[in-house]
């Protein structure tokens, strides 16, 4: 979902060739997962089909012929609407954790042990992210911060659930 919108946003800055768009995307948003060229051009093709970008005439360059893409009014409107809309505050991970904890208690498994293992897994990832931040570029630091705060929120939930595990166990074991 974000790749087409990110490309549209980059085109809103200035018209670009596919190669330059890919390079800008990888610099700001790729972070170790570069966008394949095929995906760049297929996405631009779909955006052009939907009237959100226009493709210029083929121009000769150093390599194969290339097209310059520009955003349309419809495309601009889509970028503006997307930027203005807050991201859904989905408790995506907690629901998985919660399901696991409840099932572990129902089945008489070691829910505390599960939470401890989950906690250690989170902490290990947080250490990796802290390492990335040390001496990393500002963009890497900010992205690592984003992940760190999310993991921290999960950890708080794990701690609170740990403290209430007895009460939860009593509740789920009632027929």
């Amino acid at each position: 979902m974000t790749v087409p919108l990110a490309l549209l946003g980059l085109l809103d800055r200035e018209p670009s060739y596919g190669y330059d768009l890919k390079r800008a995307y990888d610099t700001y948003f790729g972070r170790g997962r570069p966008l394949p060229f095929g995906q760049v051009y297929s996405t631009l093709g779909r955006l052009a089909r939907d009237g959100k970008v226009t493709a210029g005439q083929s121009e000769p360059g150093d390599g194969p012929d290339r097209k310059r893409y520009a955003i349309t009014t419809l495309g601009k409107q889509e970028v503006e609407a997307w930027l203005a809309e807050p991201v859904a505050a989905e408790p995506f991970l907690q629901t998985v954790l919660f399901t696991k904890v409840v099932l572990a208690l129902m089945l008489g498994h070691d829910a505390q042990g599960y939470l401890d293992t989950q906690r250690a897994t989170h902490m290990r990832r947080m250490r990796e992210l802290s390492e990335i931040k040390r001496g990393g570029a500002l963009v890497d630091t900010l992205l690592a911060d984003h992940a760190l705060f999310h993991l921290e929120a999960d950890l708080r939930w794990i701690d609170v659930t740990t403290a209430r595990l007895g009460a939860l166990a009593e509740m789920v074991r009632q027929p």
């Binding site: 401890d116 293992t117 989170h122 947080m126 802290s130 993991l151 921290e152």
Partner: protein, 241 residues
């Protein structure tokens, strides 16, 4: 007094099944923990779980009611008050949440103080203080009274003071507890970075997961017992450090 020697190599600091109570409240129950030389360890846990008590027992500030504390091959809990006090002054450094600096003295005075109290000569003491203040990015503030410094600056002075005697272990109890997120992060980065350069072991008590993530590993204290998550974590083999 007979002081037994630990088999070598062993942990630098170790609590073996220690208990500690305050009146009828038991803060530690058979708590065990081993810390390797040069390691940065975070002790986490909810309020009142016993994590600060554990730190105080490891640092020889409290004596456990039962169990043993070993430091560098010696039974710390069997040492006299005077010997433990001397050890705290020479081998240990401390960073607390706040309140450990003398506000009327300058940053340089505060940092040099432990050396001067240990009868070091004035000039080398201040030279060492200046070097640490520089490495903590406080060179320009060395002549400023610590009462005039911001919370983050004061904590960096406290770190310099904790390191000035070249201790083997630094004990930090919620060192970033009174700081905002960014300042706390900077303080931890400097504390851990400098400790690694000096080869100092760091034991930090914190409830902040981001602070704990700066450590090599963490243990949890719950109801006075220590839980080492890596003891049961199949992914963690070799992950420490």
């Amino acid at each position: 007094m007979t002081v037994d020697a630990l088999p070598v190599p062993g942990p630098l600091l170790e609590a073996r099944s220690i208990d500690r109570s305050y009146g009828r409240t038991q803060a530690l129950r058979a708590a065990s923990l081993a810390v390797t030389a040069g390691e940065v360890l975070a002790i986490m846990g909810p309020s009142g779980s016993g994590k600060s008590t554990l730190l105080h027992c490891l640092a020889g500030i409290f004596t456990p009611d039962a169990g043993e504390v070993w430091f560098d091959g010696r039974r710390l809990d069997l040492l006299s008050d005077a010997r433990r006090s001397e050890l705290r002054r020479t081998a240990f450094g401390f960073v607390f949440q706040f309140g450990q600096l003398v506000p009327e003295l300058t940053a340089a005075d505060n940092v040099a103080l432990p050396l001067l109290l240990g009868k070091a000569r004035r000039k080398p003491a201040y030279r060492r203080a200046a070097e640490l203040l520089r490495r903590l990015e406080l060179a320009e503030l060395s002549g400023r009274r610590t009462g005039e410094l911001s919370g983050g600056q004061a904590q960096r002075v406290a770190i310099a003071r904790a390191l000035v005697t070249r201790p083997k272990v630094i004990f930090a109890d919620e060192p970033t507890g009174a700081l905002d997120s960014l300042t706390g992060e900077k303080v931890m980065e400097l504390l851990v970075g400098l400790a690694r350069q000096e080869g100092t072991t760091v034991i930090v008590v914190t409830h902040d997961a981001r602070v704990a993530a700066c450590a090599d590993r963490e243990v949890m204290v719950r109801d006075g017992k220590v839980t080492d998550p890596y003891a049961t974590d199949p992914y963690a083999a070799g992950a420490v450090r």
